[in-house]
Structures are given as structure tokens and as C-alpha cells.
């Protein structure tokens, strides 16, 4: 009986890592769709978001069932608590990738990001994908330190966003209001996506050590 429970907890953690990687694939595809104005990729992101929501719902239900039937304590309880909270982050990561895909569809066939700020967005997209992969690896290895590492790396995302604003607000911005708003909102989506990946990595710290790192 307890052996089956142990297997179930391992599966739960495995699912979390897989869902985090799904989030990473979604933001990678959304970024490629953004830069290449690729409608087929936006459809993939939107389909993956449905998949993500379904998997988050299923995981949440499973957690509640585990709490009711197994009354876990100590580390086992922490696994379930982390899984429950992470589903909310994963759900949002899926939605944020979906938001980017929707902007691409809305403006199609026009490109969204003017050439001058494209490298900045490529970097933001790269960081978001990397953060999701790092968070998934942190789950795989129950790595307590990745939360702090990711939080530090997250400073670059904030810095990029501040630099973006200084360009959008400058006198010589020549691409108009619509492009500026699209860029500022997409920048916001990347920033929030990265925040959620950091939050997941921080929960791995709680999982591994019992130290609750909160607030995001």
C-alpha cells in the first residue's frame, strides 16, 4: 500500500517536470511564431495550452485525492503541496505563451516586433525557454539551490524590460502606438512567464528542504 503511494508520488513529480517542459516548449514555439509570423506554430501553442490546462486540472484533482486517502506527512506532504501550487504556475505559463500566439494571429500577416528591438525579444524568449528547462531540471534532481539561481538570472529579464521601455518611450520611436503597445505587453508576458518558472524552482527548494520560499 505505502509502496504504491511512493510510486504515485514519484509519478506526480515526473508529471510536474514534464508539464514544466511542455511550458518551455510552448514559449519556445510562441517566440518562433512571433519572429517568423508562423501561423501553424501559433495553432500548436493554442492546442498545447488546452493540453496544459487539462493536465493541470488532472494533477490538482489527483493531489486532493492523495491528501484525502493517504494523509501524507513530512516530505510526502511537501510533494503534494508543491504539485498543487505548481499547477497554478503552469496553467499561467501556458496562458502567457497562448497570449503571445494570439497577438501573432491578430496581426498576421504583419510582423509585430520592429527590427531594432528584435534581438531584445529574441533574448527574452531564449531566457523564458531556458528558465522553464532549468525549473524542470530542478524538479528532476530535487535541486534546492536552483530557485536562488533562477531568481538571480531573472534580473536580466527585468533589465531587458526596462531597456525596452527606454526605447519605446524615446523621441525617435518611429513605429507608432500599436507596435509600442504590442511590444510592451509581450514583454510583460515574457516577464511573467519567467516569474512563474522561478516560482516553480523556488517550490523545489521547499520540497527538498522544507524551507518555504514565498512571494512572487
Amino acid at each position: 500500500m505505502r509502496e504504491a503511494f511512493r510510486v504515485e508520488l514519484d509519478e506526480l513529480i515526473g508529471d510536474l517536470a514534464r508539464m514544466t517542459r511542455l511550458g518551455g516548449r510552448m514559449i519556445t514555439n510562441a517566440s518562433t511564431a512571433l519572429h517568423q509570423v508562423d501561423l501553424a506554430l501559433t495553432e500548436l501553442v493554442i492546442a498545447d495550452d488546452l493540453e496544459m490546462t487539462a493536465r493541470c486540472d488532472a494533477t490538482l484533482r489527483r493531489c486532493v485525492t492523495l491528501l484525502a486517502l493517504q494523509a501524507p506527512v513530512a516530505t510526502d506532504l511537501r510533494v503534494v503541496v508543491v504539485a498543487m501550487r505548481a499547477t497554478d504556475d503552469l496553467r499561467r505559463m501556458g496562458s502567457l505563451a497562448h497570449h503571445i500566439a494570439k497577438v501573432v494571429r491578430l496581426r498576421h500577416p504583419n510582423p509585430i516586433i520592429p527590427g531594432s528591438i528584435r534581438p531584445m525579444f529574441a533574448r527574452m524568449g531564449m531566457l523564458a525557454s531556458q528558465f522553464a528547462e532549468d525549473a524542470a531540471t530542478a524538479i528532476d534532481h530535487r535541486d534546492a539551490l536552483s530557485g536562488d539561481r533562477l531568481a538571480e538570472a531573472d534580473d536580466e529579464v527585468d533589465l531587458l524590460r526596462r531597456r525596452l521601455f527606454s526605447i519605446l518611450f524615446a523621441e525617435d520611436w518611429e513605429h507608432g502606438v500599436e507596435a509600442a503597445i504590442d511590444a510592451s505587453l509581450i514583454g510583460r508576458y515574457y516577464e511573467r512567464f519567467a516569474d512563474h518558472a522561478v516560482a516553480i524552482a523556488r517550490q523545489v527548494c521547499y520540497l527538498a528542504t522544507g524551507r518555504m520560499l514565498v512571494g512572487h
Copy 2:
């Protein structure tokens, strides 16, 4: 023993309602600060955000302790699950009100919202405040139907945001890029705040009926 546990669960629910009202007060103050360019009010919002984060952290810890020591089932378990998930929504509601306060501070002493779109923002602020109050009342009365009601009312927030974009993107927008970006981001903050209030009300439905309404 179980009597003490019952009292603790009632306290937990009372705390959730109070924190939801704190979120409502924060967005009300942020809205007033926005329209009156009131720095003192922005300080209050920022202080309240610290308070909100501390209370969310404390509530989350208390939930984990209750799960470990009491191994609740059925409705009791649902109370703890709802409280845990709601702390993440409440934390975000506090952050979003804080974001609006920060924009006011950044642009001070200049007003942020041009006169032509001020009524729209007044309405968004009013709806956000109302949603928080409605979610708190739903918690008080364990009202299973308020989630659907709020989700329906939330359509008006989405509509306002779409109307806002049509104004910002129009040829005759004469307030420049900075004002347009501020308006679009603040509109986004109101929209997300409202979403979190709806999510809390939906969790009350789960609390009252056991039907899990997910996705937000």
C-alpha cells in the same frame, strides 16, 4: 480536539474573507491614487502589499500544518485546499494594486490617464473593487453561485479593455506612446485583478459543492 479544529477552519475562512477585502481596499486606493495623483495613497497601497504578502505566507504555512496534523477529509479538506490556492490569487491581487501605485509614483506629479479615457478607467477600477467585495461576500456565505455570476460580470472588464485598445490604436490618439503604454498596462492589471477575484469566487463553489471549477 476536533472542536478546536473546527474553530481553526472557521478562522481560516474568516481570514480569507478579510484578506480578499484587503485586496479590494488596495485596488480602491490604487484607483483613487491614479485619478487624483495622490502619493500618500500609493504609500498606503505599498504598505498594504507587504501586509498582504505576510498574511498569505502565514495562511499558507497554517494550511500545511493543518494538513500534517489533522489529515482533514471531505469538506474540511476542501477548506484547506481552497485557502492554499486562494493565497496565490490574493498575493497577485496585492501585487497588481501595487503595480498601479508604482506607475503613479513614477509619473508623479503628472497625471497618467488622459481625460478622454478616464471614465473607462474609473469603471474598471470600480468593477475590480466590486469583484473583490463580491468574492469576500461569497466566502462569508459559502455562496456556490457567485463564481458563475462574477465570471459573467467579468465580460464587462474584457469589453472595456477591447474598447480601450480601439481608442489607443485610433489615428486620432494624441497623447503619445508613453500614455498609451501606461494605459494598456494598467488596463491589463485591472483585468488580471478581476480574474483573480473571479478565481477566488469559483473556489468558493468548489468549497460549497466539491465541484472543481478550474482554469483562469
